[in-house]
Symmetry: C2
Subunit: 351 residues, 2 copies
C-alpha cells in the first residue's frame, strides 16, 4: 500500500471549532486556470477625497458632516442591516416557518484619516489606536448586546465598497450562527477536557511547529489544521483572554506589531494589496456577560480569497455551496508559502 502524504493524497479534515469538514485536494493546484481573472487594482486612491463619505470633513448620506478626525473615527452606518427598534415578528405558526426578532446597531470605524493607506502601511502606534478603538466599541455595544461582530472587508473582491481604510461593527440581540457553533464546540470541549479548546490548540501548534506563521511574546498566527481558504490564518493570544477589552497594554502593542507583520506578509505574497475578510470572535457580552464564559478564547479569523496570483482567486461555488468546503493546497503548504519558503504557484509534489 502507498504511504499517505497530505500533499499528494486527498483527505478530509475536521474543524472542531465550527464543527465542519473540509476536503483537502492538494494535487489539484496542478490544473491550468482558464476561468475568471480579477481586475488588477491599478487605480490610485487619493489621500483625501471630499466626496468620499468616510473622509474627514466629508458630508455623509444623512447630511452629517464628519469631524476633521486625525486617528480612528466611529460613526453609525447610514444603511444599517440592524436597527435598534424593529418590532417582533410574533410567534411562528408552524415549525417550518420560524422567524424571530432581530435588533442591533451597525457602525463603521475608519482606521486613519488618509484614504491611501491600509493597516499594513500604518505605523504600529496607529494600529495600536485601532486595537484600542476595537476594545472600546466592544465595551460600549457589549453593554447592551450579546454579540458584537467586528469585521473588515478589504478590497473590492471582498465586496468592500469604499477604499478608505475601515472596518464595520454589527451588534445584535441574537447570537449569530457562527457564534452559536463556536459556543457549542468550546463549551463541549471544556466540559470534556477541562480546558479551553483554543488554549490547547495553540499549545499543540507550538509543539508541532508545522503551521506556525508568526509568534511573538503575546500572540500566535497559525494556519489552522482545518483551514478552508487558500491563505486563511488564525490569530490567537498566548494567554487565556476571553474578550478584546481584557487585553493589557503590552498585549495590545504586541498585537499591533504582529498584525502589521502578518498583513505585510499577505501583501508580499502576490505583490498586491491583499484582499480578505477578517473578524474577531470573543465571549458573548450583554446581560449575560457575567456568566461563566471561561471556555471562550479570543481570536481573529483571516479569510483571504486569492489562490494563485493577485488576479486568480479561489471560487467557493458548486461543490463548496452544495456539499463541502474544498481546498487546493494543504495548510502545511500554505504555511511554507507564508513563511516565504516556497512560491505559492505549486508545481512540484515534494513539499
Amino acid at each position: 500500500a502507498t504511504a499517505f502524504r497530505a500533499s499528494e493524497h486527498q483527505h478530509i479534515r475536521y474543524n472542531p471549532l465550527q464543527d465542519e469538514w473540509v476536503l483537502v485536494s492538494a494535487h489539484r493546484m496542478k490544473r491550468p486556470w482558464q476561468g475568471q481573472v480579477e481586475p488588477s487594482l491599478l487605480k490610485t486612491v487619493p489621500r483625501h477625497d471630499p466626496h468620499n463619505p468616510l473622509c474627514p470633513g466629508a458630508t455623509r448620506a444623512n447630511g452629517e458632516v464628519n469631524p476633521h478626525y486625525d486617528g480612528t473615527f466611529l460613526f453609525d452606518n447610514d444603511f444599517p442591516a440592524l436597527q435598534p427598534d424593529a418590532p417582533n415578528p410574533g410567534p411562528s405558526d408552524h415549525p417550518l416557518f420560524q422567524a424571530e426578532a432581530a435588533r442591533g446597531v451597525c457602525k463603521v470605524m475608519c482606521f486613519h484619516p488618509w484614504s491611501d493607506v491600509t493597516l499594513p502601511l500604518m505605523s504600529v502606534p496607529e494600529i495600536r489606536a485601532v486595537v484600542d478603538a476595537w476594545a472600546s466599541v466592544i465595551e460600549e455595544l457589549g453593554a447592551q448586546y450579546p454579540w458584537v461582530q467586528i469585521f473588515e472587508n478589504k478590497g473590492a473582491m471582498m465586496g468592500c465598497s469604499n477604499p478608505h481604510p475601515h472596518c464595520q461593527v454589527w451588534a445584535s440581540s441574537f447570537l449569530p450562527d457562527v457564534a452559536q457553533r463556536e459556543e457549542r464546540s468550546q463549551q463541549a470541549y471544556q466540559s470534556q477536557h477541562g480546558e479551553p479548546l483554543l488554549m490547547e490548540y495553540g499549545r499543540q501548534e507550538l509543539l508541532r511547529k508545522e503551521r506556525l506563521v508568526l509568534t511573538s511574546e503575546h500572540w500566535l498566527v497559525l494556519v489552522p489544521f482545518w483551514a478552508v481558504w487558500p491563505f486563511q490564518t488564525l490569530l490567537l493570544p498566548r494567554r487565556h483572554v476571553r474578550r478584546l477589552p481584557e487585553l493589557t497594554s503590552a498585549e495590545r502593542d504586541d498585537l499591533a506589531s504582529i498584525m502589521k507583520k502578518l498583513l505585510t506578509k499577505y501583501d508580499n505574497l502576490f505583490e498586491t494589496s491583499f484582499p480578505y475578510s477578517m473578524g474577531w470572535h470573543g465571549a458573548p457580552t450583554g446581560s449575560e456577560a457575567g456568566a461563566n464564559w471561561d471556555h471562550w478564547q479570543l481570536h481573529a479569523h483571516y479569510y483571504p480569497p486569492l489562490l494563485r496570483s493577485a488576479t486568480v482567486r479561489k471560487f467557493m461555488v458548486g461543490y463548496e455551496m452544495l456539499a463541502q468546503a474544498q481546498r487546493d493546497l494543504t495548510p502545511e503548504q500554505e504555511t511554507k508559502s507564508l513563511e516565504g519558503e516556497i512560491t505559492p504557484r505549486l508545481d512540484s509534489d515534494d513539499l
Copy 2:
C-alpha cells in the same frame, strides 16, 4: 407599538433543512452601491472551438480525443479533486487534529455539442436528455459511493472556467457536510412528525401561495422561506421521490419543461445569461442504499449571486463569513420579482 412588516423590519429566519439562520434586512436595498461591478459578458462564444477540451472532437489535457457526440457527453475530470485510490491518513493522535480518508471520482457532463447554448436555450427534449443522463450517473456512481453530488457552476462569476454548457459530478466515499446536515434535519423531522420535512414544506407553500414561482403537474419551484441568496429557489417534485433515478418518464419531461421556464425567468430578470450554482440532493446511495431513507425528498437548490443588475452581485463576505448569512430583500419580494410583478431594483417600501 409598530406592527411588524417583513419588508420593513429586519428579522431572522430559520432554515430547518440545513439548521442555519439568515438575517433578513430588506430596507438595506435602498443603499447606493459604489463597490465592485462585474464585467458584462459581451464576449460571444463560438459554437465550436477545436481548442476547447469540452467540444466534440477536441483533444483533452490527458491526450484523449472526445467523440463527435451529439447529445450529452460524460467523461472523467482531468483534474479531479477526488480520486478512487487515495490511502488512509491513519488514526488521529489528538481530538483537535482529525483527518479521514476521502475517495471518489469527479466527472464532467457536457449538456450539448454546441458551446453557444445554455440550458434555457436548449429544447425541452434536449433538456430531458440531460435529466436522463443525471439519473444514469447517479445510478452508476451511486452503486459504489454513498454520495453523488451533481452540480452546475454557470457563468464566470461562479468560477466556471469553460463556457461550454456542462455540469460536474463528484462522488465521494463520505457524506459531505451539507448532506450530513440535511440528513440530520430530515431524519429528526420524520421521527417527530411522521412525514418527510420537504413533503410537508411543499404542501404548506402550495397553501400559503406567497413564495411560489412556478408549479406544474409534477413539480414546484419556490423561494424557500429561509432563502439566503437574492434569487435563490428550491425545485421539488410533488410526489415523494427519494432519488433522481426514481423519476417516471412523465416526471422527467415535466422537469425539463419547468427547468426551461425557471432558467428563462432568471435570464430575463436582468437581461443576461444568469449566473448560478445549482445542485441536486437526494437520499444517500452506496452500500446502504437499501436502508430506510424515506425521510429524504429529492430536491435541487439554485444559488444565483446577482442582486441588483447583471453586473452588481451580492457579496457574502465579512458578516456572512464570520457571523451569519444576511439578505437585502425578503423572500416574498424575491418571489414577486421572479413573477415579473416588480422590478428587482426595489425603491419603495410598500411591497
